[in-house]
């Protein structure tokens, strides 16, 4: 059995915001009719409203598009969870895919997490509240990010650009790069 590692292998950086690779994380893409009872049954919690992420225990579900959700769970149970979801969806027109190994999950911690994100994305991060999720871009790559509280944000990007994303975040979070108060 091979030992799964994330692209960044747990790297972390202390700037005016702390940037930490979360290691292997379970991520399952679900596509289908988000208004259906089948989807609700498959995710085991309420379907998040557009541009929101909801959590229950160590699982979360993010709204990605009008017909797509992303379920987050511990890496070890992703395959099993995806199988359960597929079963719960039965004959409903849908798709379930374990995409854990195609992604990276990075955490930002500090009072200025919004500022660090705002340096890299055109999204209105200042207006984002905990529980809001945006799919946008960070510099030149697509990424999704959300706040769990006012000092903690998470970023999801493709595994192939994990190092690029980490380098971006650590550059803009460097201690000397904090913006002057306005």
């Amino acid at each position: 059995m091979s030992n799964a590692v994330s692209a960044l292998n747990g790297a972390s950086f202390e700037g005016y915001v702390t940037v930490t690779d979360m290691g292997p994380a379970g991520m399952i893409t679900l596509r289908g009719d988000l208004g259906s009872a089948a989807i609700k049954k498959a995710i085991g919690m309420a379907v998040p409203a557009p541009l929101k992420i909801t959590s229950k225990g160590e699982n979360s579900v993010a709204w990605m598009s009008p017909d797509e959700l992303l379920a987050l769970c511990p890496y070890e149970v992703a395959d099993e969870t995806a199988a359960k979801m597929t079963k719960a969806l039965g004959k409903a027109h849908s798709l379930v895919a374990n995409v854990s190994d195609a992604r990276a999950l990075i955490r930002l911690e500090g009072a200025d997490v919004r500022e660090v994100l705002a340096k890299l994305t055109p999204a209105d991060v200042a207006a984002m509240q905990p529980g809001d999720l945006r799919r946008s871009r960070l510099a030149q790559i697509p990424a999704a990010f959300w706040l769990t509280d006012d000092e903690t944000a998470y970023v999801i990007c493709f595994r192939s650009v994990a190092k690029y994303t980490f380098d971006l975040l650590t550059t803009v979070a460097a201690p000397s790069s904090k913006l002057a108060p306005t």
Binding site: L51, P66, E68, P142
Partner: protein, 109 residues
Amino acid sequence: MLLLRCPYCGVDCDETELSPGGEAHLKRFGPGSEDADFEGYLFQRENPKGVHFERWRHANGCGKWFHAARCTVTLEVFGTYSAQLTEPPQDIKDAITAKRPGWHWREFA
């Protein structure tokens, strides 16, 4: 800079979050069609100074295609609407008429 509201997720997208998809409401002419129709489908495009209809994709976002009505002179956006429509909905036409009385674009007015 262009800001368009994606009608699918409601986000006000920056131009850099979007992919342009060219002119809107093209009617496809395929095998068996008249040469002139096929040529028009492939090559003939509007290039207006004023009201224009385009397709855009919320690429760095929800990934959906949608339509936008805007002015090429002022970059004013009259509205965005579903990609599933084959012509601009009445509320979009009304919004344009309010700002650009007498406008026309292809067969729409």
